[in-house]
Assembly symmetry: none
Homo-oligomer: 203 residues x 4
DNA sequence: GATGAATGAGGTTTCATTCAT
DNA sequence: TATGAATGAAACCTCATTCAT
């Protein structure tokens, strides 16, 4: 039925609007400082409507994370697709990660600060593994790079932790303004260290 | 006066008890889920007493961070003091960091999760730079190691970010149980990667 | 729309119920001793509902004053409307004021005691002039009476102060039970004094 | 014993210092906004010491009122002592009342605002009749004036209510800045009205 | 008597969530 | 399905008062 299709479309748009509003507001003000009514207002729906699409505020946060991570990961995937080696893909990933999140500073805060929810959050939602896809992809890239013989056969999980941990802390330092450094220069230096350390022909 | 001395001692003990209770409770339940009354109960003082020692809940959290960071940094400093080279000190630092925080799992959670508690904090307290001392010391170690000729003359700030970011994310992965790995093995692998990447005579 | 009309009506009733409950409770226990939860219970709404209609407790008190003053002033206005001279209106006003507030003793307390509750209010809300309308009307009556040639051309502001001050203190003495007098007799005596003046050789 | 005398003197001074501090602070900030610790600090005693001299904050307020009223009444009494007729004393009383309280504006607030404690206060302390002495003296003056044949034989209680009510409301209007009038002019006008009476054809 | 550290009861207000319309 | 008015639980912090020293 056409009617149903249109309705369905409308609903999907509404859901999407809510998520967008949630991401923007969470990023800007932090999870606890964000009121559902604010999100509803930005999404141009009633407060109660939010609860037709999401069980509660926690779920909305988790979905918001998921959307962001998926969106950015897909952008990254498509952009590194044309790189000729996995090593290049890996380094390109690093650069893109920094670029994508610092282009929208509130997303940098979102990722480096808000993502780390309270201990109770992890206990309450054991299935909450927001970075899993992201770090898995990173690990996969490391595996490929090793197979292609461009980095030494290190443990790929360890490599992924080093990579993600470094990117994440770099963004935190930048987002909180703790350090007064040029982000692009710092990024190059870090890539330099990681590659020169990791390359098979590093000598 | 003896009286004053005894009172002072009592007060120091009380303050300490409150901080300990705060750290434990914050770690367990998260900052926003922790009630002052819980902390007070654990510290065996009245609710109001907490406010004789700390201006408010925020300050209590910040002081708790500071105490933990200082305490652990001092332990680390004293333990690596006998290491003969800065490179050894650096790697020892890494191991001790992981050890000290995973020996007390709530501290691992405290550091890797609660420390990032929400942008609200960084916005409200721009002077809140809990890790400054820690990463500064790390950077100093890197400088020394470079001067001693044991790692290539990389940018020391970049090195510190890689080191701390990696340690931090490793603890997070461990604390949230996202990954099912042996912490000690993972740690060795990471150290392996970082050292083989960094050494001057890495070939 | 019918629906909206009904809802609006309901809301007006709810607002009114809250104000009534507030006046009664404030009068009975005093502003600082009155808990919002008590008011809510008396008004048969939830605590939070009070805050849908009033910004906070302070505003509720001020609105309550305003409502009472307006209500009583309107009653008085309509009742003195048929009096043939302004002098009669003026004296009638005096009697009605005493009557209206002593018929509902909690209102007498509200006006003579709670209204003066603490400088904090006057300092915090300089625009809080609860009696302005009331004394202005009183002053206007005095002007008219003078123009009609029934009292000497005294300063009207001074007259208003005498009238209101006397009525107010009379109610206070009555409400606090400090004096053991017949209110109606006292009222007559006061009116007698005010109209006839003090001096023996006034003729 | 000399010792005891000195100690007693010290204690009286301490009690007096506390009352003075209380009056100043209550006047300035209002009863509810005043903390016992502030009073103690101003009186240069420990918080607990206040409770050696006064049962609680309420009692301290009541004593403070009493002291002020007594002090001012005594000043007035001594100043009007040389007036040759009771009528002159009465009018002089009015002027002195206004003068004494407006010379120290915080006292004007204290008397016209803070004196009217909450309804519960009057219920809790039925013996709290702060103005009794004052209005009794006023009434006595009226009696004398009547006996001396200088005002008509009106009811003296009614006269006292008019006098005190007018003075009190005049001070309130002045203290809260509601009216923009010259206090001294207004005072003269009021006295004029009270003495000359309202009616044009009063004979 | 004097101290002041410690106590702990108490209340306003917010806001996630519900549910009658 | 959508609304948004209503709900009511929940907790930080203050400060009068106490009491061990």
């Amino acid at each position: 039925m056409k009617k149903n299709k249109q309705q369905l479309k409308k609903q999907i748009q509404k859901r999407s609007a809510i998520i967008d509003a949630a991401i923007k507001t969470f990023s800007l003000k932090g999870f606890h400082q964000t009121k559902i009514s604010e999100i509803a207002k930005h999404a141009e729906v009633a407060d109660g409507t939010v609860y037709l699409y999401f069980k509660n505020k926690d779920e909305l946060l988790m979905v918001a994370f998921d959307e962001i991570i998926n969106e950015k990961l897909n952008i990254i995937k498509s952009k590194i697709d044309t790189d000729t080696t996995s090593l290049r893909k890996l380094l390109h990933f690093f650069k893109l990660h920094v670029k994508l999140f610092t282009e929208e500073p509130h997303l940098a805060r979102f990722l480096s600060i808000e993502l780390r929810q309270s201990s109770e959050f992890y206990q309450k939602y054991p299935e909450f593994k927001p970075l899993e896809k992201y770090t898995n992809f990173l690990e996969k890239l490391c595996q490929d790079t090793i197979q292609e013989g461009n980095i030494k056969p290190f443990d790929t999980k360890a490599l992924a932790i080093i990579f993600y941990g470094t990117m994440d802390f770099l963004l935190l330092e930048w987002a909180t303004g703790n350090q007064n450094f040029s982000l692009s220069k710092m990024e190059k230096k870090i890539v330099d260290i990681l590659t020169n350390g990791l390359r098979i022909y590093s000598s």
